[in-house]
Symmetry: C2
């Protein structure tokens, strides 16, 4: 039975971290809210989110259904999928460390989001643009270098090719996606930061060339980045 991914259909968003893992593994999955038959679309996704018969409901998309199991929270979904997709090591130490890296990537993703929504998710960008200018300045100057510098240190201590061990893990895929998003949203600041973290830049390039990832990125399933997603290109935020 294929996995069922539930996420907002028009954006990459947090669902993309799950999608990349499924695509790299060649795992069968249905992107429920992107189906246009009776079983798909946003309506069935929201129905499942508020399903009164599910005693373990997620708070929000993305969530994954695997048979009777429904799991929300991007990092928890990857914690579940990692062993099943062969995208994490066997030992508990490797699994916890891979997860720790994923949580740190999630922190960076949250901060990237908050650059354009510093005051609140319920307001439009136009209504918090002044605050966004201030927050983005700190994000560009302090936070992008801090996060990327951390992953550079981790890569350097592990030989440079992978974040964990000697094989690809979901953390490598997620770091690729973080860098891709930052390059979209803050092209100048990120390009500058990447010159100081050559192993991060190399991992980003290497992941994009993996056969299944390269094939995926060329399909319409890879929704383009846009100003509706987490990573948004507002030129005034990356002057």
């Amino acid at each position: 039975m294929p996995y069922e991914l539930h996420y907002w259909p028009m954006i990459q968003g947090r669902g993309e971290f799950v999608r990349l893992a499924l695509e790299e593994a060649g795992a069968p999955y249905i992107d429920v809210a992107r189906q246009d038959d009776d079983a798909g679309g946003i309506g069935p996704m929201l129905d499942r989110l508020s399903d009164p018969d599910n005693p373990r409901p997620p708070l929000a998309p993305p969530f994954l259904r695997d048979g009777d199991v429904v799991i929300g929270q991007t990092a928890a979904i990857l914690l579940y999928l990692g062993p099943r997709l062969g995208l994490v090591g066997e030992s508990e130490a490797d699994r916890i460390w891979t997860h720790q890296l994923q949580l740190t990537i999630a922190d960076a993703v949250n901060e990237a989001h908050d650059t354009h929504h510093p005051v609140g998710v319920g307001l439009y960008y136009a209504d918090q643009k002044a605050e966004a200018l201030r927050r983005a300045a700190e994000f560009r100057a302090e936070r992008i270098p801090k996060f990327l510098g951390y992953f550079e240190r981790v890569l350097a201590a592990n030989g440079g090719e992978h974040l964990v061990g000697t094989a690809l893990s979901y953390a490598d895929l997620s770091l690729f996606q973080l860098v891709a998003g930052l390059l979209y949203a803050f092209p100048k600041a990120t390009a500058a930061a990447l010159t100081d973290v050559p192993q991060v830049a190399r991992l980003h390039a290497a992941v994009s060339r993996r056969p299944r990832i390269a094939a995926y990125l060329a399909t319409p399933r890879r929704t383009p980045f846009s100003e509706d997603g987490i990573f948004r290109r507002y030129p005034e935020l990356d002057p």
Copy 2:
């Protein structure tokens, strides 16, 4: 060998979620940065954070050392400690679900923090007070009810006493801490919200009465909430 918790010594902060688990379990631990001998204090904590011999460094406190293992990220620490302290179920499904709840609590904690630091962590509150007023208004009106309502739904579906199964888990302890922090930072808004989520209010009270938690809360180890922590009481943010 006792666990070694590393966290900023003067605040509860994110370290408190780990402390509550260790205290409830009666586990031996050293709060490294709170020791005043040669092996303790902030210096040794920061030395370990930047230890060049650790190929798997955390990005920031809190982090836990257990023999040769060093783990950062609050939720990852609890993922590691849960089975060891008897604070999570045996099945994979229970463990993933407990972790999913922890990650949702972490989201709420992050948002509570950002009410007083919407523009950036590198600035003082006084320099982003106008933005904080706007962000806190949305947090009070929309986000506190949304998060607490979600946990009420989860508790109701599970009989009301615990979030997961029939025994205390680290998610219960963390929900206690979230409610305690919200009651400190937003006493009016949180008291009002709690009237709609009686099972969350009851869990908060029940955890505070557990013998080891009650004993811990009465010690100086339970640092008071303050305006240096995640949860801050600025009256203008809860008018």
